[in-house]
């Protein structure tokens, strides 16, 4: 069973819709007893970094998630803000992140001849997959995903960068460390490419 962690922020409806479409056994829940039993976890999220961490905290989910992910090595996929929360800190907020990835989150900054690029990075973009990984099986050659974000992840260890995307410059659009995965884009809003990715997470990871 996949548990989509409900911490009061985000795109729960659309993730649930797509998981249902691909026939995955998934539930949306904030109940620690349910999170306890998950075979795999999805950490969604839309909104501000501190609001995300605060909501995880007030629901008492942080120690449990630490245990499930770091001790029990339960596969987890962070989506959009959910990916950013995997990091140590963010320019957007004061609170520390979950800190599972040696990475931080910074705001897009453009100058010179790309100064006119709009923030947020909102729209469809492609990925260059840097290392073969089951999450991106059948997606290396052709892909297209929907992005909405003003901040992006910077990994201290380049080895954690699974895929990158160009918006003014190359940034990490997917990360991985052991059982921990994150994607900056919204697979649940990315047609067949997103379906493939969720199917890969369900069946191959």
């Amino acid at each position: 069973m996949i548990v989509v962690v409900d911490y009061g922020l985000g795109n729960l409806g659309s993730i649930a819709n797509m998981l249902k479409k691909i026939g995955a056994h998934a539930v949306v829940s904030s109940d620690p007893a349910v999170v306890e039993k998950a075979d795999k976890l999805i950490l969604p999220g839309v909104g501000a970094f501190d609001a995300g961490m605060k909501n995880l905290e007030t629901r008492g989910l942080i120690p449990l998630l630490n245990y499930r992910v770091l001790e029990q090595k339960t596969p987890i996929l962070g989506v959009c803000l959910g990916m950013q929360l995997l990091c140590k800190r963010s320019e957007e907020g004061q609170l520390p992140g979950l800190g599972w990835l040696d990475a931080e989150v910074i705001r897009f900054k453009f100058d010179g001849n790309i100064a006119n690029l709009k923030i947020p990075h909102m729209g469809w973009n492609t990925l260059t997959v840097r290392q073969p990984y089951p999450l991106f099986a059948d997606l290396e050659a052709e892909n297209r995903f929907y992005f909405v974000h003003s901040y992006h992840v910077v990994c201290a260890d380049r080895g954690n960068v699974l895929a990158q995307t160009n918006y003014g410059f190359d940034f990490a659009s997917a990360v991985v460390k052991d059982n921990i995965m994150g994607v900056q884009f919204h697979p649940e809003k990315s047609h067949k490419f997103g379906m493939r990715l969720y199917k890969n997470f369900t069946e191959r990871v």
Binding site: N11, L12, G13, S14, A16, N17, M18, K20, K21, V46, G47, A48, K118, I119, P120, H121, M122, G123, W124, N125, T126, R144, Y146, V148, S150, N166, Y167, H186, E188, K189, S190, H191, K192, G194, M195
Partner: protein, 254 residues
């Protein structure tokens, strides 16, 4: 490669889809769910739904229909029409529709845009402005599906809305709506050059070249259209279409 969005903008009227000309004479197109399924199969960049009667008839958003739409469409979705409370926004986002589009109520109660942005995040809040040249030839914002003049200048209004939290501006030309005579590029340029927020241009598109012009000449971040994607031929036969990804790649190029 980053590509500008091309967005079919669909009008709901009594739970059916229609297309207007200059905001009048709605032609019935068909059942929304069937049409959404076709657009989903064509892998469109994004879809926007506007209930053109909700505010006029003081009705609530059609939540049941939106729920069905969200379960059939796996691309970004926006909904506008009759949104007046944070509760409405919460319900719509919960269904899996990530953008709320606010038009009349943004004029009536601008503070609501800030509340909406604080609640849902700016990138989920789209302010829509329907613009027409008034009898003195000046651009003016209209509400209530084009029925009510506001006296507001679109550039000033767009800047105000962006400043208080609108993450995106949907700019619709009433004069070009349904005419397929090309976008009002002068209007798009004025608004897009005045704000940092992305502008979705709408009204008048007939060809892929029009879409390209809205982005490259007008400075819009996305090109919206209605008639172009639902009609075909001189007799305006209802036929759902969307440019192929190759056509769009050629137009927007690297």
């Amino acid at each position: 490669m980053f590509s500008p969005r091309v967005i079919p903008c669909l009008l709901l009227r009594n739970l059916g889809l229609v297309k207007t000309v200059k905001f009048k004479n709605p032609t019935y197109l068909g059942d929304p769910i069937n049409i959404v399924k076709i657009f989903n199969d064509k892998e469109v960049d994004e879809l926007m739904f506007l209930d053109i009667m909700a505010t006029v008839e003081n009705k609530r958003p059609p939540f049941k229909l939106l729920e069905k739409v969200a379960s059939e469409a796996f691309m970004p979705l926006g909904y506008g029409g009759g949104i007046r409370t944070l509760e409405d926004i919460k319900t719509i986002l919960g269904l899996g529709i990530e953008k709320v589009i606010i038009n009349s109520y943004a004029v009536e109660n601008p503070a609501f845009i800030r509340q909406a942005a604080d609640f849902a995040g700016s990138s989920s809040v789209v302010v829509s402005m329907d613009v027409k040249k008034n009898r003195w030839g000046k651009y003016e914002v209209f509400t209530h599906s084009g029925r009510k003049a506001t006296g507001l200048d679109p550039v000033k209004f767009a800047v105000e809305m962006a400043n208080i939290g609108a993450g995106e501006l949907f700019l619709n030309s009433i004069d070009r709506d349904g005419t397929m005579q090309g976008y009002d590029l002068a209007l798009i340029t004025r608004v897009a050059s005045a704000v940092n927020s992305p502008v979705v241009a709408c009204g008048g598109a007939r060809t892929v070249q029009d879409l390209e012009a809205a982005v490259k000449q007008g400075g819009a971040s996305a090109a919206g259209a209605g008639s172009m994607f639902v009609f075909q031929g001189p007799h305006r036969a209802v036929l759902i279409s969307y440019p192929t990804s190759q056509e769009l790649k050629t137009a927007f190029g690297e």
